[in-house]
Amino acid sequence: MAGSDRRAAAAARHRLLPEGRVAGPMPWIIAIMMFLTVLSAAAGLGLGAAVQAMDADLAGRATVQIVEANAEQRDRLSASVAAALRKVAHVRAVHPVAASALADQIRPWLGQDAASGDLPIPALIDIELTPGQTDAKVERLRRQLGAVSPKIRIEPHAAFLAPLAGLLSALGWLAAGIVLLMTLATGAVVVLAARAAHDSHRGTIDVLHLMGATDVQIARLFQRRIGLDALFGGALGFTVALLVILLLGARLLATGSELLSAIHLPWESWAILAALPVGGVLLATLAARWTVLRSLGRLL
């Protein structure tokens, strides 16, 4: 069959169902669902990336605190602990926190008096451990440092942010659940739309049927129509969601917060988001085909 003949045949087949795409509610419903699905997926992926970044950033980090009221003794103890830590095999780096930096951090809460020296502020030493078995290494250090002085404490960073990481992770899973529910709802909408379309074109279907059209021939008409509706709705919903994500991303960056800036979308996540409308079209097409074939199966 020549190309033009194939096109003419396809056009003739497509005319079998009345035109009217975009006029019905289905493309718009799919657009809204796709918009919400892409936003939910972006939230889940972004939060997942943030949790991963946080884990990678905090894993193997700990802070040694020297809680000594006497400033002189505190400085001496701090220096000796730092020197001792540098000799420990599984400690990769030792960064004593300068007193001025500590004062800067607490100044917003305690005012200018924070740097006066009258306030007993613990000395802090940030350490980075070699990768793996962080908990065991921290425990070993805790015992060793405890033997040196009971005024020395060690806190792994992950412990500070565990509740936040847990919250972000839970939000990520919630977003994944919403994506799943939206997918199911989209499938249900398509099934209802296909049933409605099947019912409203019942006369045409009966005529085609009695002329010897097969179920697959008839189902193809509906799956094409609904697939095109889904393509329009999916593209529209995805585009609007994309704009919202880019806008929100710019706002997150503008906050200057290290924590909020960790919520980002790596390229794999963008690929997953881009696959959502494609998946939506496939889902709609298959759901339409299944629905129409089932309905036709009830006819003789």
Binding site: M1, A2, D5, R6, A8, A9, A12, R13, R15, L16, P18, E19, G203, T204, D206, V207, L208, H209, L210, M211, G212, A213, T214, D215, Q217, G297, L300
Partner: protein, 236 residues
């Protein structure tokens, strides 16, 4: 001539109602011309539905083209339906398609290439006198014109059996004669024609036709002796 249609003790019941058709037995010879008559509600349309495979009987055996279609798997029915042309009483034209596309429908369903469709459709349009109405929508046609489109659509695929339910109900006497001439021409080409009608003068025009009469769901005289004018002959 071999039997192309055979009904054996066929009964049809809708739901829990009493039988619409009871113990209907007859056979139609391939290439024959048959009228099916009977009062309104006698079961003519139900019998035709069984014939064009829109309905399965509640009991009995129906053979079409030598095969039992009652037990035939559903997926094989389209192949049989393509061999049967139907003129529905209510025309059943597809309202959003042009006259041309309505007539071309059976050819497209059968998968005929687009380049091969134009000639027969144009010929058919001219034949039913609608050569200049090809792009019109059915709603813009008169009842008679719609009926001619329905007939053109039924015969364009050169069916082996043509089933027509009151095909002359909406046309004037002249058009009725022309349609009948068309049916006769098809019949001469070997198509078996089954026409349900009340129109006795119409039946009188086809001398070779046989008549079956339904009375309250039963075939009152399958011998053809009730033909108008009478002609004792058994089909098949």
């Amino acid at each position: 001539m071999s039997a192309i249609v055979q009904f054996e003790n066929v009964g049809l019941r809708y739901g829990l109602d009493s039988e619409t058709l009871s113990d209907v037995s007859f056979s139609l010879a391939s290439g024959g011309f048959y009228f099916l008559t009977g009062a309104s509600g006698a079961g003519k349309t139900s019998l035709l539905k069984l014939l064009y495979l829109a309905q399965r009987p509640s009991r009995g055996v129906i053979r079409l083209f030598g095969e039992d279609v009652v037990t035939l798997p559903r997926k094989r029915l389209p192949g049989f339906r393509r061999r049967i042309g139907v003129v529905f009483q209510d025309f059943r034209l597809v309202p959003h398609l042009s006259v041309y596309d309505n007539i071309a429908l059976p050819l497209r369903v059968a998968g005929m290439e687009e380049a091969e469709i134009d000639a027969p459709v144009s010929e058919m349009l001219n034949w039913v006198g609608l050569g200049d109405r090809g792009q019109a929508r059915p709603a813009t046609l008169s009842g008679g014109e719609q009926q001619r489109v329905a007939i053109a659509r039924a015969v364009i695929g050169r069916p082996e059996i043509l089933v027509a339910d009151e095909p002359t109900g909406n046309v004037d006497a002249d058009m009725a004669r022309r349609l009948l001439t068309l049916f006769e021409a098809l019949n001469r080409l070997g198509t078996t024609i089954v026409v349900a009608t009340h129109d006795l003068p119409l039946m009188a025009q086809i001398s070779s036709a046989q008549m079956m009469k339904l009375d309250k769901g039963r075939l009152s005289d399958p011998t053809g002796s009730l033909r108008y004018p009478p002609r004792p002959q058994v089909a098949g």
